[in-house]
């Protein structure tokens, strides 16, 4: 089955540069400090975040192995515990995924890094001071807390990594923890337009070898299984003047170096759209809460 029709439409009717429909509900888990159910197409993730005091053992364990500078840099970020549960009915064939499942372990590691990157709110100035040993050992208020994050994959249909990152961002954003930045993520993949020499010639004669058409933004399940996916997480930047810092890249697609560059840029554009969407959702929620609870 062709991934893309000759009219330039994909199986689900999108163009190459269209994202799937996104939906983001905040506050779905009562009792959590921040929670979010993030739906992108048919992928659905629930993330929730709890803030608890840090136990003594964990605090001392965190201090020992790090070097002085690393401890100083990490001092403002709270301790993060993250659990991913991939529910058995998430994919088409039922499959139990335990704690040691490769995909779950992978996701946990990536999301934990993302959360740490997000929650590290140290100012550049502060960082310099602590690095040179003048800072007050970074014992800032709220440093003794632990953030427990739970991510549940309810439905998986392509772009699970990106959706998990976005859900995580919303959950942390709703809890309104002190963050250095928000992180958003978007996927992209590249298709081979002509499989054989004849097809390629035909496409060339039709003049369809345009740059971007090769790429597919935000691939769904079918596209991901066929072509793999490149997923990029960057810091959120809604306006164009702001830089996007890369937090993580994961590439499972077969891409040539040129394609890779293009794909990353396309993802970055996708991320901009996602960050706009998430920022609007968060502000929507916050304005409502602020208005209702104002006295």
């Amino acid at each position: 089955m062709a991934i893309m029709s000759y009219e330039g439409l994909r199986q689900d009717g999108r163009r190459w540069n269209e994202l799937r429909r996104m939906q983001c509900d905040l506050g779905v888990v009562s009792g959590a400090d921040g929670s979010c159910s993030f739906t992108c197409g048919r992928t659905k993730i629930i993330a929730s975040c709890f803030v608890v005091p840090l136990s003594k053992q964990k605090a001392s364990a965190a201090r020992v192995p790090t070097t002085a500078t690393a401890a100083a840099a990490a001092s403002t970020a709270p301790h993060v515990e993250l659990r991913v549960s991939w529910l058995p009915f998430a994919t088409q064939e039922r499959r139990e995924r335990g704690r040691t499942d490769r995909q779950v372990v992978d996701l946990e590691g990536m999301l934990k890094q993302t959360a740490c990157a997000m929650l590290d709110a140290s100012s550049a100035v502060v960082q310099k001071q602590t690095a040179s040993g003048r800072g007050s050992s970074g014992a800032a208020r709220g440093n003794n807390m632990e953030v427990q994050i739970k991510v549940a994959v309810l439905q998986a249909d392509g772009g699970v990594r990106s959706c998990c990152v976005n859900a995580l961002t919303c959950a942390i954003g709703m809890a309104n923890l002190v963050c250095g930045c928000l992180v958003v993520s978007c996927g992209c993949t590249a298709q081979q337009l002509g499989r054989t020499l004849r097809e390629t010639r035909m496409l060339q004669s039709r003049g369809e070898e345009e740059e971007g058409k090769r790429l597919l933004l935000d691939p769904n399940g079918a596209e991901t299984t066929k072509l793999g996916e490149l997923s990029l997480s960057v810091t959120s930047a809604a306006d164009r003047r702001q830089f996007q810092d890369v937090v993580s890249i994961n590439c499972e697609a077969k891409l040539t170096p040129e394609e890779f560059e293009e794909a990353v840029e396309t993802c970055a554009e996708g991320c901009r759209a996602v960050s706009k969407f998430l920022r609007r959702k968060l502000l929507d929620y916050m304005t409502k809460v602020a208005t209702i609870s104002s006295h």
Binding site: V52, N176, C179, R279, M286, K288, A290
Partner: protein, 341 residues
Amino acid sequence: MALAMNVTIHPVKRKREDALVSTFESLSEASPSRVYRHGDLVSVGDAIQVGDQGSFLRGHGTRVTEDNAALRATVCGTVERVNRLVTVRPVRQQYQAEVGDVVVGTVCEIGGKRWKVSLKGGRAGQHAGAEGVLHLSAVNLPGNAQRRRTWEDELNMRNVFAEGDAVCCEVQQLHSDGTVALHARSAKYGKLLSGHLVCVPSFLVKRQKQNFLEVEFGESSAVRVVLGYNGLVWVCHPGGLPLQKQGAGDIDSEDDDASEGGEGEDGGHGGGVDSSCLYNLSLVRNVVSALGRLMLPLTQETISQGVGLARELGVEPGAVAHGDFLDRLVEQEAMRRVAVE
């Protein structure tokens, strides 16, 4: 053959979302001047305008970017400026203790001359949030004796506050490592009895003059409410507050003995709690919890008005949490805001 037929799908009713949106709409209609728009708030990572001079002091909720160029927000909230100091006050933040705050918590651990007090509700300490430390030397011992605390007192700590007891204290000190030291030296602080603990988001309990409220019920006895700034609210029979206990003389030790057996809900002062009192108590409790769910502010005014509305409409305590009454509650809040304007 083409059938002309309109098939409609019944719209799915989404209650939670609706509650927030509809509450927002009715309240913003009532007082348009106090509505927050997107422009009034900054989100995480947004650049904050610092003015022409270019010199500023970085306050809470902000950070300076690596190239030292821009000031960016680290929380979602409103920007506040005092001269050159720029801070962002977060909307809906976690509870941040301040010295002098009245807080309500549950004892979760005893040992080493101190009680650990959980300042955030949660199922049996599962997600117990912020913790405070109440030292043995920071409480009034039964009998009001001012003396050094001996090892005997240390052994008897469980008689004063046992695990699971609700206590009401004041924040005494904030240590640099983030722990919160509490004290219960005044007569109004201490163990809370014969009542119910309600957990609401902490940002709904605004700074106010009085934390110990009274909801009048005409003929029958009033219901007392203790608003902890940490988001825990104790709703109880008047006999359940420490101050009343003191007034009753030195039956303190007896109370302690009695409550050991009875524990919590109906312990201690069983004598004064009759059915009408329990009815009122559950009414107030449900109104407080409904206000918390709607994210309306919790003050003396809103609570007593909410209770008044429920009594006026003859709503049973069990029906307080239902949609119809919640709508009326929002309407009333809207009216109140119109009146304030």
